[in-house]
């Protein structure tokens, strides 16, 4: 580089990053050519020729696919986002979604990682429950069979993680226990759940759970799916927590023992606070995977975001616009997952402080 003729920084950057060798130059030219040919027609389809509003699919069909039919989204967005929740009450799930997003945003700030945050979360969830169910403060009662769309996806994720997390800590600690029976049971639980697909756990909850309970006891579909999600998430979270426990130097436990702390005191005050801190970035990744996995409830007929989109597509007025519909679904999921993914990467860089192996996201 030093022997080269002085060139402007931009030119130097181009030479180093795009045209450093013959294969590199060929690759650059190929990519530029493909972009040149594909991007304009895509932009034309997605933006220029797109139809943004129409009462039904007729206008879009007349265009014969020259442009995207975003009118489907414009027309059906209320149903897609809120499901069958009473139309004039849509502000309630909307407010609940906004509250959850604010809560998650606040939880991402390290300066707010205090015990008080748990209390704020509990208060927030209580307010959300009141908003969604109603029946008090002049809000009309809405049974949870009518909850749907984005809020259901977010609630399944939130409550799934909230209940799975304590369970996963027990499982992870149990897997390292000195007691063979407890170790065996933890290992068996974790490996069985991780060895089977989520859909089989969901089927199990939806068809087998009613068989397990005494006659007359009935739990609704939402609660059954939620139970399955909790049991499933716990096994995956347990392995992440175990990773954190394993990363902790043995000396920490030994020092705590030397201080005369009991088993539970050692875990409560010394081991878990440090192990969980190490495990935060992979925990965020598991969270992303779990958020995406909630979309599987479409298979057992729960009205989450993906189900509302599929149902909208079944309307005769709008059949045939699946590409637009699923691109929109992908966009909404991406909007949630991508920031979390970047957050986890940034957190890892800050917390790891040059740890040996980089973390790889598995789901």
């Amino acid at each position: 580089m030093a022997t080269m003729l002085p060139a402007s920084p931009a030119l130097q950057w181009l030479r180093a990053n795009l045209f450093s060798s013959l294969p590199n130059t060929v690759a650059t030219l190929c990519i530029l050519y493909l972009t040149w040919t594909l991007l304009p027609s895509f932009l034309n389809w997605a933006l220029v020729s797109a139809i943004w509003s129409a009462p039904d699919g007729r206008l879009c069909r007349e265009a014969q696919g020259a442009g995207a039919c975003w009118a489907f989204i414009t027309e059906k967005h209320r149903f897609i986002l809120f499901g069958t929740y009473p139309y004039d009450q849509h502000w309630r799930p909307a407010l609940a979604v906004a509250m959850l997003i604010v809560l998650y945003g606040a939880s991402a700030l390290r300066s707010l990682w205090r015990p008080r945050l748990v209390i704020v979360w509990l208060a927030g969830l209580a307010v959300i429950a009141v908003l969604m169910w109603g029946g008090v403060f002049g809000l009309s009662y809405v049974e949870n069979e009518r909850w749907g769309g984005l809020i259901l996806t977010l609630l399944l994720t939130t409550f799934g993680i909230a209940f799975a997390f304590p369970l996963s800590i027990l499982l992870a600690v149990g897997r390292r226990s000195a007691m063979p029976l407890i170790r065996l049971m933890s290992v068996a639980y974790i490996e069985i759940i991780r060895g089977v697909p989520l859909i089989s756990v969901l089927f199990m909850a939806s068809v087998m759970l009613p068989l397990f309970l005494p006659g007359g006891v009935f739990i609704d579909k939402l609660l059954r799916a939620q139970t399955a999600m909790i049991l499933f998430a716990a096994a995956y979270l347990a392995e992440v927590v175990r990773g954190g426990l394993q990363a902790l130097p043995r000396g920490q436990d030994e020092a705590a023992q030397a201080l005369g702390l009991t088993y539970w005191q050692r875990h409560r005050f010394v081991i878990l606070p440090q192990a969980l801190r190490i495990a935060i970035p992979p925990l965020v990744n598991t969270f992303i995977g779990f958020f995406k996995d909630t979309s599987l409830v479409v298979i057992i007929g729960l009205f989450d975001l993906l189900t509302t989109i599929k149902v909208s597509l079944n309307e005769p007025a709008w059949t045939g616009f699946g590409v637009e519909a699923y691109l929109f679904a992908a966009f909404v999921y991406f909007l949630f997952c991508y920031p979390m993914s970047r957050y986890s990467q940034a957190l890892e860089r800050r917390l790891a402080r040059g740890a040996a192996a980089p973390m790889i996201r598995e789901n």
Binding site: L18, F203, V207, Y326, Y333
Partner: protein, 342 residues
């Protein structure tokens, strides 16, 4: 406190006191209590289930497997099947269909993932950015959304058989799936031919299979790309420089120096991706590809044998999981450092 740890059987101290101080005795008590609680829970569940099954008139057991299934399966792998076959045969067809999509998916996802992982490491900024965009776009969207998307693309936007795409001689891509020539004898290929509405002859891949495979491969490749990239980054930079100073060309350095070392970091997470692809193939039920889960689901709906059906699904997947991890552990030992060579 410290000078009087009572021992079990010490006689003088009460039972409560030795329970407090003797961790071995405490462990036994805990485990007995846990076993008792679990036993009770199981007994409760089994009693309820027996009662519920009796109330619904469902006979438990696996005898139903030998009865006639009575439903058609749209595609089979290796095994012949018709509505008169037994449930057991239907399940075997499901297992083979799961294997078919998983094995082909693993091969394709590994190839695509490796290419994208290497592209991300490329010194070409455009290529690197493109690969990074692929990874972030794909892995942050649920697989199920992508499967629905590909299914719609294949069934609604691919051309009709009459205008099928013909990328290679004898290969036709249409909204009825993909057809291709298969060898009829060692010297002769059976070419597909266009009939009135569809193709006949040759080998064929259904649109459901095509969509499922496309979705699984594209999704899993985004994770494999990251694994490959991290594995290569884990190899010390000095290794590459040393290989270069020995006069190896860049691809030689990659092939003989970097990759063999990177594989050690790559294989364990790759194993879990292979398991993931196998488990994720169960999403086939959502787009109507007859894999194990979707066939068992049909059987459960038809016979009411829910417990048996789900037990079969879980048993098959657990077997695959264990077999794959055993195989990968073996490979891992082979790829690990071999010391002691003179």
């Amino acid at each position: 406190m410290a000078h009087e740890f009572p021992r079990p059987g010490g006689g003088r101290s009460s039972r409560i006191v030795w329970l407090r101080y003797d961790s071995r005795a405490r462990a036994i008590v805990y485990q007995v209590l846990l076993a008792a609680a679990l036993g009770l829970a199981f007994w409760f569940v089994i009693a309820n289930t027996a009662e519920n099954l009796a109330a619904r008139g469902i006979a438990s057991g696996f005898q139903f497997l030998f009865r006639e299934a009575g439903f058609e399966i749209s595609e089979t792998t290796f095994l012949s099947y018709n509505a008169g076959s037994s449930y057991l045969r239907a399940i075997a067809v499901g297992v083979l269909n799961t294997f078919r999509v998983a094995v082909i998916g693993i091969v394709l996802a590994t190839s695509l993932g490796t290419l994208i992982g290497l592209a991300r490491l490329s010194r070409n900024w455009l290529l690197g950015t493109l690969a990074a965009a692929y990874v972030e776009l794909i892995r942050n969207v649920p697989l199920l959304v992508q499967l629905f998307f590909w299914y719609v693309v294949v069934t609604e936007h691919f051309p009709a058989p009459a205008d099928a795409l013909n990328p290679l001689p004898g290969v036709f891509i249409s909204n009825r799936g993909i057809v291709f020539p298969i060898p009829r004898s060692p010297f002769e290929l059976d070419y597909p031919e266009l009939t009135a509405f569809n193709f006949s002859g040759g080998g064929a891949v259904s649109p459901e299979f095509a969509a499922l495979l496309l979705g699984l491969v594209i999704y899993t490749a985004s994770f494999i790309a990251e694994i490959v990239r991290a594995g290569i980054l884990a190899v010390d930079r000095g290794q590459f420089e040393a290989a270069q100073s020995l006069g190896l060309r860049p691809w030689q350095a990659m092939r003989f120096v970097i990759l063999p070392q990177a594989l050690r970091a790559i294989v364990p997470p790759l194993t879990s991706q292979y398991l993931n692809i196998t488990k994720n193939s169960s999403l086939a039920v959502a787009i109507g590809y007859p894999d194990l889960v979707s066939i068992c689901n049909t059987i459960i709906n038809q016979t009411g044998q829910a417990i048996e059906g789900i037990a079969i699904i879980m048993f098959v997947y657990l077997t695959i999981s264990l077999a794959l991890s055993a195989f990968m552990n073996r490979y891992n030992r082979l790829a690990a450092l071999k010391g002691g060579n003179p």
